[in-house]
């Protein structure tokens, strides 16, 4: 952390978005995380994504649980809504919030402990329900707040800071999310904003559960030789499946690539996600909309010791929770008393339908 407040002076040529805001208007409080923490880069990527999409901060709700990762919503989008839930309960609280107000953009910030350990039961069901939210796991494979024990996502054999190898198999969150029905699943790396920012934009535009497993090295407890979540290890083993461009709905798509080099996927809100295939082994015929193939590819690359990143799976048109449950179009918190308490006669009609 730093002791001085960040000066408010900004670069005079800093780009402004359609709202007339610069990226500095999307900042939060100054981070109190360790200097160099990957989580701060994720916060910064969220700010950049929201700035580039010209999201009004008041349309965003930042949801989190407990952990280093869950502190980060304090460090971006000061003007947004926020809820810091009990450890591991962020998915459930977000489910409730989303039911009450479906108009907000929910950005859940969680960590490997908050999601893969204490919150795993909450997480898996939010995925299953295709809750319309962006769920980011800042994944560092270690419990930083409690001084560096291996977390559930630490790879088997990864060395802890004191040298002991992790004897357990890891929970692979992307596999889990795909299996449980998430419509948007990606893996990225806090040290690669060029990849992370467009993925975040597409995740925000996606209708349904958008999951990003973001490897975010813990500089204090898990950035040493032998760790599989260190900056160096991830950079050396990173296999990027594809590169993403996010093209907002209103922008005209100009083709400056040869056909076959990319695939355009139209997202729910009309924006387009352009996937550029990378030359990685096995990526040539990769179809991110084929769930079985995606799961197979992730397993194979993982077995080969690679850290597969990019957009892994996408099902752009799957119905989200509201569609499945046929909830009211208007958010509950905007319905009047007449709609919420329609009276005895309506109740009698409902009761009659069960007889």
């Amino acid at each position: 952390m730093s002791y001085i407040p960040k000066p408010s002076f900004r670069h005079p040529q800093l780009p402004v978005n359609d709202l007339g805001l610069t990226v500095r208007d999307y900042e939060g409080a100054l981070s109190t995380l360790c200097a160099g923490c990957g989580h701060d880069s994720i916060s910064s990527a969220v700010m950049q994504a929201c700035h580039q999409m010209a999201l009004e901060p008041y349309r965003v709700a930042k949801m989190s649980g407990i952990g280093c990762s869950s502190k980060t919503p304090n460090y971006f989008l000061n003007q947004a809504h926020g809820f810091n839930a009990v450890h591991g309960r962020m998915p459930s609280v977000t489910t409730g919030a989303n039911l009450a107000n479906r108009d907000l953009i929910y950005i859940g910030m969680s960590g490997d402990g908050d999601t893969a350990s204490i919150g795993i039961g909450q997480f898996i069901h939010a995925v299953r329900r295709r809750l319309n939210m962006v769920y980011i796991v800042a994944n560092n494979g270690t419990y930083g707040l409690t001084k560096g024990q291996n977390s559930a996502t630490a790879d088997r054999g990864s060395l802890a800071k004191k040298g002991s190898a992790n004897p357990w198999d890891n929970v692979d969150l992307v596999t889990m999310a795909i299996q449980a029905g998430a419509g948007f699943v990606a893996r990225s790396f806090s040290g690669d904003k060029a990849q992370l920012v467009p993925l975040l934009q597409a995740a925000i535009a996606h209708n349904g559960f958008a999951f990003i497993d973001c490897i975010s090295p813990c500089v204090t407890f898990n950035n040493h030789r032998g760790s599989t979540k260190s900056f160096d290890y991830v950079r050396e083993h990173n296999t990027a499946l594809n590169r993403t461009d996010f093209i907002p709905m209103k922008e005209e798509i100009t083709a400056d690539y040869q056909p076959g080099e990319f695939t355009d996927v139209c997202l729910h809100d009309g924006s387009v996600m352009r996937l550029h295939k990378m030359a990685a082994d096995g990526a040539a015929g990769y179809d991110p909309q084929d769930r079985v193939a995606a799961l197979d590819h992730i397993q194979r690359r993982s077995a080969a010791g690679e850290v597969l990143t990019g957009l892994l799976y996408l099902e752009p048109n799957a119905p989200d929770m509201h569609e499945v449950m046929e909830t009211a179009e208007q958010p509950l918190n905007q319905l009047g008393e007449r709609e919420l308490c329609p009276g005895r006669e309506v109740l009698q009609t409902i009761n009659a339908s069960f007889r």
């Binding site: 002076f9 900004r10 204090t220």
Partner: protein, 587 residues
């Protein structure tokens, strides 16, 4: 781009104020001393570099301020000049701190002609080395143009005399009231070297109809100011016209306001913005009810029976062809302005009627001596020039720098060393880190707007031409203004091999100076950064290739030197290092 050579020149350039200062005074260093109320030390840092802190703290041309980085991120730059005055106003006894002048001389004798800032600087630099210094000046006391051309309401006699005497009291012999009429004779008197610092003593005249007939009420600006300084003139007509738009014109109009001028008009050929006068001097004149009239070319002095009645002007407008401007008559009828006196302040010229053509000092076609820009030596190896006498009218701080350089040359010349070889500057670069988040400088910069210097009540100030108008910052305002300084001399120093490319510095930087990008040519690189680096005057700091084959590029343009990059850096790849460069002097 190739990795930046982070040599002393690179770091010096980043300290905009110091780089812009002709004498390269370490500005942030003395501003920090002011902030910690160490006024005497702040004064001495100045004195060592610019010789006249109290004088310059009032009347410097302040090339540092337009250069100040603060001006690029905030409304206005740091009030550097006025902070210098805070140091001067609050200093303790500095005489014991001045360098000792040896009793035993080194046997070399140097003559300095003219007792202005250039000569005084030469004297100051050479006297402690044991040189016997003699200064010759035609006026009754030392100070040169600082005494004759700058009005006392801007520079009180007490302040001027004190700093001039710091030098003259140190075994330097001043021959006052001594007009040198022959340089040849001077050289033949056996001086080892002669330094000419006689300024630009001739005010330019305006040869238009009526000039001779109405001569009694028409004056040359700098001569008239000198007459006021020597109290030969104490009144001026009720209606005064000043011709010219430079700082001398501003001094003339404001002096006129104090000597009975009620309706004082400055009439200028060019537009208001192109006037040569410093913006603040124009402001001060306007504040004292001086009217500034632009785009009027003087055509004739109007008079009846030798009595000046007014002036005729031709209205013009500016026409640009590329960057070349010409003033074209508008065709409107001429403008006549009634007046009782006219002061011509349209420029100054050099004049060396006392330098013999055949003595070995070559003059160019403009009548200026041929002087080496580095050594300040003329074509006569024993004769050196400096100040306005060398290359035409500049300002005090430039004259001081000329003096320093000439003193180095004279010292080397007397030792039989080559003059082109210059002694290197003294450079120190010291990490400012003292703890996890603690630095040896205050990196929490103030976001206050520039503080305004209080002025004396105009009604009272206009009654007395010796009463100082600017009152200077008090210590509280001086502290607050000092805190606006960004400490640009505390540099962000980057070590490639420690960098893990975690982006922490990129994310924290308040002004988006830092980017990690694929390397390319400078032009594309400047466009590729997080915020475009459009200010081509400001260098890029480019690292060697990193592990990802990208390079770290820092645009120095709007860096706040807040040190947050170094605070957020987990590996110490960024460090904040204070870079002090002390330009070489003879002493």
């Amino acid at each position: 781009m190739k990795p930046t050579q982070t040599d002393s020149n690179f770091y010096h350039q980043v300290v905009d104020c110091q780089w812009a200062c002709p004498a390269h005074t370490p500005v942030p260093e003395y501003i920090r001393l002011i902030a910690s109320q160490r006024y005497t030390e702040a004064y001495m840092v100045n004195w060592e570099s610019n010789v006249f802190p109290g004088i310059l703290g009032r009347v410097c041309d302040r090339p540092c301020e337009p250069a100040c980085r603060r001006g690029r991120i905030d409304e206005e730059p740091v009030a550097i000049c006025r902070l210098k005055r805070v140091a001067a106003d609050n200093r303790g006894d500095v005489i014991p701190l001045l360098p000792a002048v040896p009793e035993q001389k080194n046997g070399r004798k140097i003559a300095l002609i003219g007792a202005g800032p250039a000569s005084l600087t030469v004297a100051r630099d050479l006297a402690p080395l044991g040189y016997e210094i003699e200064i010759f000046d035609r006026e009754i006391k030392g100070g040169g143009m600082m005494w004759t051309q700058i009005p006392r309401f801007r520079l009180p006699a007490r302040v001027l005399d004190e700093e001039v005497n710091y030098i003259l009291d140190r075994g330097v012999k001043l021959h006052a009231n001594y007009e040198v009429t022959s340089l040849k004779a001077m050289v033949e008197q056996g001086y080892d070297a002669v330094f000419v610092g006689t300024g630009a003593p001739r005010g330019r005249d305006l040869d238009i109809p009526g000039r001779t007939a109405a001569a009694q009420h028409i004056h040359i600006g700098i001569e008239w100011l000198a007459s006021v300084a020597f109290e030969h003139v104490s009144r001026v007509g009720r209606r005064v016209i000043i011709l010219g738009g430079g700082n001398t014109a501003m001094d003339c109009c404001r002096t006129s306001r104090r000597l009975g001028g009620e309706s004082v008009k400055v009439v200028v050929r060019s537009g208001f913005d192109e006037m040569k006068a410093s913006a603040w001097e124009k402001d001060d004149a306007v504040r004292e009810d001086v009217e500034i009239l632009n785009f009027l070319v003087p055509k004739a002095f109007l008079h009846t029976d030798g009595r000046l009645t007014g002036m005729r002007f031709e209205p013009v407008r500016a026409v640009y062809q590329g960057s070349k401007r010409s003033l074209v008559p508008t065709g409107e009828p001429p403008v006549e302005i009634a007046c009782d006196e006219v002061i011509i302040a349209v420029g100054q010229e050099n004049a060396f009627p006392w330098i013999e053509q055949d003595m070995g000092v070559t003059f160019d076609s403009w009548g200026m001596p041929v002087v080496d820009r580095v050594t300040f030596q003329s074509t006569h190896e024993q004769v050196f020039f400096g100040g306005d006498a060398a290359f035409g009218p500049e300002n005090i701080i430039t004259a001081v720098e000329h003096g320093h350089q000439a003193a180095i040359s004279i010292h080397r010349y007397c030792q039989g060393l080559t003059l082109q070889e210059r002694p290197p500057p003294g450079v120190t670069c010291v990490s400012q880190k003292i703890g996890m988040h603690e630095w040896r400088y205050d990196n929490d910069i103030s976001e206050d707007p520039r503080y305004q210097v209080p002025h004396a009540d105009k009604k009272i100030a206009l009654l007395d031409q010796k009463m100082e108008v600017e009152l200077g910052f008090d210590t509280a305002a001086g502290y607050a203004e000092a805190m606006r300084c960004l400490n640009c001399d505390v540099h962000t120093v980057f070590t490639e091999k420690a960098c893990i490319e975690c982006d922490a510095c990129v994310d924290i930087c308040p002004t988006h100076c830092i980017s990690f990008v694929a390397n390319t040519g400078e032009q594309q690189l400047r466009a590729r950064l997080t915020a475009p680096a459009q200010n081509l005057q400001q260098p890029l700091l480019v690292s060697a290739p990193l592990a990802t084959e990208r390079v770290m590029v820092k645009d120095e343009d709007v860096c706040l030197h807040c040190g947050l990059c170094a605070e957020r850096c987990p590996t110490g790849a960024w460090d904040m290092q204070k870079f002090l460069i002390k330009m070489a002097q003879a002493c």
